[in-house]
Amino acid sequence: MSESVATVASENAGAVAWEPRIVALVCNWCTYSGADMAGTSRRGHAANARIVRFLCTGRLDPLFVVKAFENGADAVIASGCHPGDCHYVQGNYLARRRLTVFRSLMEFLGLDPRRLHFAWVSASEGIKWAATVDQVTEVVRALGPVGRWAAPPLEGLEQFALPEPDAEPRASTDTAGLTEQLREAAAALLAEGGASVVLGYAEGSLPGQRVPIFVTEPAEAARLVWDESCAANLTVYLPDAVRRRHGDGKVAIVVKACDAKAVTGFLRENQLVREDVVLVGVACEGVRLEGRLAYKCYECAEGVPAGADVVVGEVAAARATAPDPRDAQIAALEALEPAERWEYWQRQLDRCIRCYACRAVCPLCYCGTCVAEKNQPQWISKAADGPGNTAWNVARAMHLAGRCVGCDECARVCPSEIRLDLLNRRVAQELQTSFGYRAGLDASVPPPLTTFRPDDPGEFL
C-alpha cells in the first residue's frame, strides 16, 4: 500500500512545493481537546499535522507509528494527557514506557529522533499544541523529506564492519564426561517415573550438528549428547510438550543457564506450572557457533542454571568472563550518523525472506496467531520488501521488549544473518538504564511494559 499511498500523496502534492507531512496520534481526552481549544480560541498553527484520534495513548501501538512513516509521513507526533491526568488512570504511564523503548529502538535503526516527537498536551493547552505543531513542522522542514522508507539499492554500498572481540574469555572444554552423566540422569528419570519424556540434544545428520530429541525410553537415553555445539534453546518446545503429555508425567528438559531464563519467562506469563517440568541443568562453559564462543556466553557468570532440579556437572569456581562484544558493536553503530545507521539496518533487513524462523525458535513468541498474520487490518505487510521487513522486525523486537531473555536463538537461526541479537540487546539496554529491569531473573517481577512507576524517566516528552 505504501507506494500507492505515497504516489497519491506525491501526485496531490504535485505542482506545489514540498511541505512536511506530519501524522499526529493523539488521545481523545486531553490532546484532541487541546487541539480543539487551539481552534476555538483562533490560535493559528502550521497546517501540516493530520490528527488521528485514539481513546488513550495507552492504545498507541508502535506499529501505528511505523505505518505512518511507511505511508509517507515525514514525522509523527504522539501526544496524550499529562502524567496523573489520564482518563483511564494509567494509560499514559504505560505509553510512556512503551514509547521510551520504541524511541530508542527507532533511533538505533537510524530514524532521526527529531522525526518522532512526544508531548503531553492537556485539554486546556491549546497554545502548547499550536506551539508543538509549529515547532515540529519547522524542524522537519529543515530536515527535509523522510526519504525512502525501504531498503537502499545494493550497488556501491560498503557494508559497515562491526568490531569483533580480540580474545575469548574461556577455551573449549572436554564434555565427554558430562554426556555420560546426562545419559545416566535421563535414564534414571525415565526409569523411576521422574519424567515421561526427556527433551535433550542428539547428534544430527551433519558433522557437529546437534538436534533436539524427545527421549521416552530409558534405553534411548544413550542417544543424548552434551557438548559446546548444543546451542539450541529447547524450552521453545516446553509449554506445548507439557500440554500434550499432560497426565503422562512430568516433562524433563536439558537446559543451560541462558535457556532456564525462558522458563522463568513462561512461569511469569502463566504459560507453565513449575511442578510439571523437571529442569535438568547442565554445567555449561559456553556454546560455540562455527568454532567461536557465542557472544551471549562472554559475560555469562552462571554456568549452571539457578533452580535446576537435577544438575549435571559443575563449573569452575573462578569462571572467566568478559564484556559482551555486542555492547561494543552497538556503541560502534550508535557512533554513526543516523542516515548511515539506517542504511546499515536497511541492508540487513532487505535480506529478510520472512521465513519467520526467528519467531518459530523464540520460546517467548508463543502467540496462537502472530500479528504478522493478521489481515483485518493488516498492520504488517506480508511482502518481503523494505517496508514489510522493517515493520516485521520492529514489531518482533517491540513485542519481545522486556520478555526477551537473550538466548539469541533468533539470530542463530536467521538464514539471512540479520543481527536480531543487536536489536534485542539494544532494547534490553534501554530497559535496564531507564527502568532498572533485566529479563529472565525473577518470575514474580511483571514484564516492564505492563507496569510503570509514576516517576519513570521521560525527558524526551
Partner: protein, 345 residues
C-alpha cells in the same frame, strides 16, 4: 560430439565482461554482507565462482519473494487498475550449481506446464542459465540420491567445468549457443580428453557425496504410508518456520495478498510455505492440517510421493540447504529413508 570449448581464465573473464556489456543483467554468486547470494553483478570480479553453494537458491530471480501483480486506485469517477510493466531485460544466471539449475527445471514444470504462469513465463523466456559443475562436495549434498549429479545438466543452457586452472564450457541448448555465438569462434574447441577428464572429476565428487539413490518406487511406498504413526514422531521436532521452503530451489508455493485500503493498494504474490499453519487454514477456522507433524508430512510427501507419482522425478534436487539451515536439523532425506524403512518392515 559435445559442442564445447576450452577457455583460459582470462577468456572466461572476457566473456563475462562481454555479457555484462551486452545490456543483459548478469546474476552471479556474490557477497552481500557475510552472505553469498545470487545478485546482479557489475563487474566480472564480483562473481564468486570458487564456492560451495549460495545461502539460498537463485529462484528469486524468476519467482520473486514478493511480486506486485497489479495496483488499483479508486478515483472519483473510475477504478484504475495498473499492471506493473514486466522487466524486459534479459538475464543470465551465471555459475549456478547443477542442483539449482535442476531446481529451475522443476519450477518450469510447475509454472509452465499446462496453463503457463504469465509473469514466470515472461521472465523465464528471457533467462539464460550457465551452470557450474561441482568439483567438491559439502557434507549436506545429496544430489546423487535424487537423480542429480555434480555435473548434471538439467535446466542448464551452458555448463562450465573448472579443470586444472582453465574452464570447459559446454553448450546444451540453442539458447546456450546464442549466448556465446559472438565469441565462440575465438575459443579453442575442447577435446574428447578434456571431457573425459571432466567426467573423471565428477565421478570423484559423486564418490565423495556417497549417497545411495532413493528408489523411484518409494514414491508409492510413501504415498501408502500417509497414515503411518511414525509421522507424529518425525514431525514432532518441526517448529513450523519457512526456512526449508524459502531456501529450496524447487519449492514453488505462493500466497496472494491484497495490501491496501478501499481506495488504493496492490495485489502481491508472495512466497508461502506448507509448514505454516496459515497455509491451509480455512476462512471458517478449520484447518485440514491441524498440527505440525501433518504439515511436515505434506512437505515430505509432496516432494517425494505426489510429485514423482505424477511427473516421474522427485521435487527435491539434493542441495541440502534445508538440512543445514533447519533450526532443529530436520533432514528430509533421512526422514524419507526412515519412513520407507518402517513402512516396508
Amino acid at each position: 560430439m559435445i559442442l564445447g570449448w576450452r577457455l583460459t581464465d582470462a577468456e572466461r573473464r572476457e566473456w563475462l565482461e562481454r555479457l555484462l556489456g551486452s545490456g543483459r543483467r548478469v546474476v552471479a554468486p556474490t557477497r552481500d554482507g557475510g552472505l553469498l547470494l545470487f545478485r546482479p553483478i557489475a563487474s566480472p570480479d564480483e562473481a564468486v565462482l570458487d564456492y560451495g553453494n549460495t545461502r539460498w537458491s537463485p529462484k528469486e530471480h524468476l519467482f520473486p519473494r514478493a511480486e506486485e501483480l497489479f495496483s488499483y486506485r479508486l478515483t472519483a469517477d473510475e477504478v484504475k487498475l495498473e499492471q506493473r510493466a514486466p522487466d524486459a531485460v534479459e538475464q543470465v544466471l551465471f555459475g549456478l550449481r547443477p542442483c539449482d539449475a535442476a531446481g529451475l527445471a522443476r519450477l518450469d514444470s510447475v509454472f509452465l506446464d499446462g496453463a503457463p504462469d504469465a509473469s514466470y513465463a515472461e521472465r523465464r523466456s528471457r533467462t539464460f542459465t550457465v551452470s557450474l559443475a561441482c568439483d567438491s562436495a559439502r557434507p549436506e549434498c545429496f544430489c546423487t540420491a535424487v537423480g542429480g549429479s555434480p555435473g548434471g545438466t538439467d535446466g542448464s543452457d551452458l555448463q562450465l567445468v573448472h579443470l586444472d586452472g582453465s574452464w570447459l564450457l559446454r553448450a546444451l541448448t540453442d539458447k546456450g549457443v546464442q549466448l556465446v555465438e559472438t565469441v565462440s569462434a575465438l575459443w579453442e574447441q575442447a577435446t574428447d580428453e578434456d571431457w573425459a577428464a571432466a567426467k573423471e572429476c565428477q565421478r570423484a565428487v559423486e564418490e565423495e557425496i556417497a549417497r545411495t539413490p532413493l528408489a523411484a518406487e518409494w514414491a508409492g511406498v510413501l504415498d501408502g504410508a500417509f497414515g503411518h504413526p511414525l509421522w507424529a514422531a518425525v514431525g514432532e521436532r518441526c517448529l513450523g518456520c519457512g526456512v526449508c521452503a524459502y531456501v529450496c530451489p524447487s519449492c514453488s508455493c505462493f500466497d496472494v495478498d491484497d495490501n491496501g485500503s478501499a481506495f488504493c493498494g496492490t495485489r502481491c504474490r508472495l512466497w508461502d510455505s506448507c509448514g505454516f499453519a496459515s497455509f491451509t487454514k480455512h476462512a471458517s477456522g478449520h484447518n485440514p492440517r491441524p498440527d505440525q507433524p501433518s504439515r511436515y508430512r505434506q512437505r515430505v510427501l509432496h516432494k517425494f510421493a505426489y510429485y514423482p507419482l505424477e511427473h516421474g522425478s522427485f521435487m527435491c534436487v539434493g542441495c541440502g540447504r534445508c538440512t543445514v539451515l533447519c533450526p532443529v536439523g530436520l533432514d528430509i532425506q533421512q526422514t524419507v529413508r526412515r519412513v520407507v524403512e518402517e513402512a516396508l518392515a
